[in-house]
C-alpha cells in the first residue's frame, strides 16, 4: 500500500486535484463526469483506426487543456497498458486471417494485429479522457457530483468514507511499520516475516473495526438516524454550456468520421 507512494506523497493527492487544472478545472464537475462517460461510450463504439486516432488526439488535447504534467500523466496511462499488454501481444496469434510471420509454429495475422491496435487506441483514449476530466477533480467533489447525478446514496457514502479514512489507515499502517522497523525488523523470505506481516494486517483490521465502532458512537451522539446529508450545490454557468456544446460537437464529429471512413 505505502510503497506505491513516494516518500512525501500522501494518498489521494497525486490525482492532480491539488494543482490548478487549467481550463478543465473550472468546468462543472457533473458536466465533466457525464462528458467522460459519453466520450467512453462513443469511443468504444468506434472501429476505424483513423477515427480512433482522432479520438486519442482529442484526449491529448484535453490533457493539454487540463495542464496536468505531461510525463507523470502519460506514465500513469502506460501503467494501465501493462494490464492489457499480454492480451494485445497474443491477439495477432489468436485471430485467424492473412499471415504476417510464423513464430514457433504460431502464425500472426494482420487482422489480429489491427484488432490489437484498435483496442490499444480505444483504451488509451478513454483512460486519458477519464484522467483529465474526472481525475483532476478533488475526490470529495467527485463524491458530491455523483450524489447530484443521483448515484445511489449508499455508494456515494462508501466513496466518501473511503476518501475520509484511507489516509488515517495509511498513517496507522506506517506507524505500525515504523514500530516494527525500530525494533530491527527486516522483511525476508521466512516464516518470521510472514507471521509478522500477518500480525500487522490483523492489527490493522482490529484497529479499523474499533475505529468504525467509535465513529458510529460519535454519529449516534449527534443523533444519526440513517441519513447523511450532503450540502454541496452546483450551478451550470455559461462557460459550462459552451463546454457541453463543444464537447458534444467533437463527439458528433467522431461519429460522422466513423461513418464516412468505415
Amino acid at each position: 500500500m505505502a510503497h506505491a507512494l513516494g516518500q512525501n506523497e500522501k494518498t489521494l493527492t497525486e490525482t492532480g486535484a491539488l494543482r490548478v487544472s487549467g481550463r478543465i478545472g473550472s468546468v462543472d464537475p457533473r458536466v465533466r463526469i457525464l462528458a467522460a462517460i459519453s466520450f467512453g461510450i462513443v469511443v468504444v463504439g468506434l472501429s476505424s483506426l483513423m477515427t480512433l486516432s482522432v479520438a486519442l488526439g482529442l484526449s491529448m488535447g484535453l490533457l493539454l487543456l487540463s495542464r496536468l504534467p505531461l510525463r507523470p500523466t502519460l506514465k500513469r496511462m502506460a501503467m494501465m497498458d501493462s494490464f492489457i499488454i499480454f492480451m494485445l501481444l497474443l491477439l495477432p496469434f489468436t485471430v485467424p486471417g492473412d499471415p504476417i510471420f510464423t513464430l514457433w509454429g504460431a502464425t500472426a495475422s494482420w487482422q489480429g494485429l489491427w484488432r490489437g491496435v484498435e483496442i490499444a487506441l480505444t483504451a488509451n483514449a478513454v483512460i486519458l479522457a477519464l484522467m483529465t476530466l474526472v481525475g483532476t477533480m478533488e475526490p470529495v467533489t467527485l463524491g458530491h457530483a455523483l450524489h447530484k447525478l443521483r448515484m445511489p446514496e449508499t455508494l456515494v457514502h462508501l466513496l466518501m468514507f473511503t476518501i475520509r479514512y484511507i489516509e488515517v489507515l495509511r498513517e496507522e499502517y506506517l506507524r505500525l511499520r515504523a514500530a516494527m522497523k525500530v525494533r530491527g525488523f527486516r522483511p525476508g523470505t521466512n516464516w518470521h516475516t510472514y507471521r509478522s506481516f500477518g500480525y500487522l494486517v490483523g492489527m490493522m483490521l482490529v484497529r479499523a473495526i474499533e475505529r468504525s465502532e467509535r465513529i458510529l458512537q460519535a454519529m449516534k451522539c449527534r443523533g444519526f438516524s440513517g441519513r447523511i446529508h450532503l450540502l454541496q450545490d452546483f450551478a451550470l454557468t455559461v462557460a459550462d454550456r459552451r463546454f457541453v456544446a463543444l464537447f458534444g460537437g467533437a463527439l458528433l464529429l467522431l461519429i460522422c468520421l466513423e461513418i464516412a471512413w468505415r
Binding site: V140, R164, C221, R222, I228, H229, L230, L231
Partner: protein
C-alpha cells in the same frame, strides 16, 4: 436538580478486575468538574455510560431528572449532552467542515438553510470561518480539535463532556481552546491529564480510584 446523576455503576470485562465498582457521580447545572485517574481507570468508560454508548452491568443513570435505561431514553440525552471524543478522526467523518457541523442539526430535523445558518454562526463565533469549506481529513490536528468542538456545539447541548481535549494540541491552539471553553455557558465534565488545563477550565475535581469516584486528594 442535577444534570447527570450516576449511582452504583458497575462495569467489568470477563477475566479482569472490575473497572467501575459502584461508582457514583453528580454534575450540577453550571458546574465545571474535572475527572482524573490513572490510565485505564475507566474515565472514558464513565463518559460513554452517561451517553448510553455502553451499558453498565449494574447501576442507575439519571439525566435531567429522568432515569435512563433503554436506548430510546438516551436519544434525548445525546442531544442535550455533547461529547468531544479523544480522537478527532473518530468524530469528523463528513467530507467538508460545513457538512460535518451541519450533520447534527440536520439529524435533529432542521432544514438545510437552518443548518447552514447554524454552521455560519458557530464558525464565526469560534472565529473558524476560514475552515468552512475545507476537507476534514486535510485539517491539522489543532484545527480538527476546534472543529470537533464546533460539531458538538452545533447540537446546542446543555452539558459538555470533554475527553482529553488537549491531545495533540500545540500551545497556541490550547490557549485558543481554553479561551473558547471559558466563554461557554455549558456545564462541563472534563477528563484531562494536564493539571494546568484543568485549573483553567474547571472549579472542582473528582478522581476515579479502585473503581470508585472519590473527591480528589493526594
Amino acid at each position: 436538580m442535577a444534570l447527570i446523576e450516576l449511582e452504583d455503576i458497575h462495569i467489568s470485562y470477563p477475566g479482569q478486575p472490575a473497572i467501575l465498582a459502584g461508582a457514583a457521580l453528580q454534575l450540577l447545572p453550571g458546574q465545571r468538574l474535572s475527572l482524573t485517574g490513572p490510565n485505564g481507570s475507566g474515565k472514558s468508560t464513565l463518559l460513554r455510560v452517561i451517553l448510553g454508548l455502553q451499558a453498565p452491568q449494574r447501576g442507575t443513570i439519571r439525566a435531567f431528572g429522568q432515569p435512563r435505561t433503554q436506548e430510546p431514553d438516551f436519544h434525548e440525552v445525546r442531544r442535550r449532552i455533547g461529547l468531544v471524543f479523544q480522537d478527532a478522526d473518530d468524530q469528523l467523518f463528513c467530507p467538508t467542515v460545513a457538512e460535518d457541523i451541519a450533520f447534527g442539526p440536520l439529524n435533529l430535523g432542521k432544514s438545510k438553510s437552518e443548518a447552514l445558518e447554524i454552521v455560519d454562526r458557530l464558525l464565526s463565533d469560534l472565529r473558524l470561518t476560514h475552515l468552512r469549506d475545507r476537507i476534514t481529513h486535510k485539517l491539522s490536528g489543532g484545527e480538527k480539535r476546534l472543529v470537533t468542538l464546533a460539531t458538538v456545539l452545533a447540537m446546542e447541548p446543555e452539558v459538555l463532556l470533554l475527553d482529553e481535549p488537549t491531545n495533540a494540541l500545540d500551545v497556541k491552539n490550547e490557549a485558543r481552546l481554553i479561551e473558547i471553553l471559558q466563554g461557554l455557558p455549558q456545564a462541563i465534565l472534563l477528563v484531562s491529564h494536564s493539571a494546568a488545563f484543568r485549573a483553567q477550565i474547571t472549579t472542582a475535581e473528582v478522581e476515579i480510584r479502585e473503581g470508585l469516584v472519590r473527591p480528589a486528594g493526594p
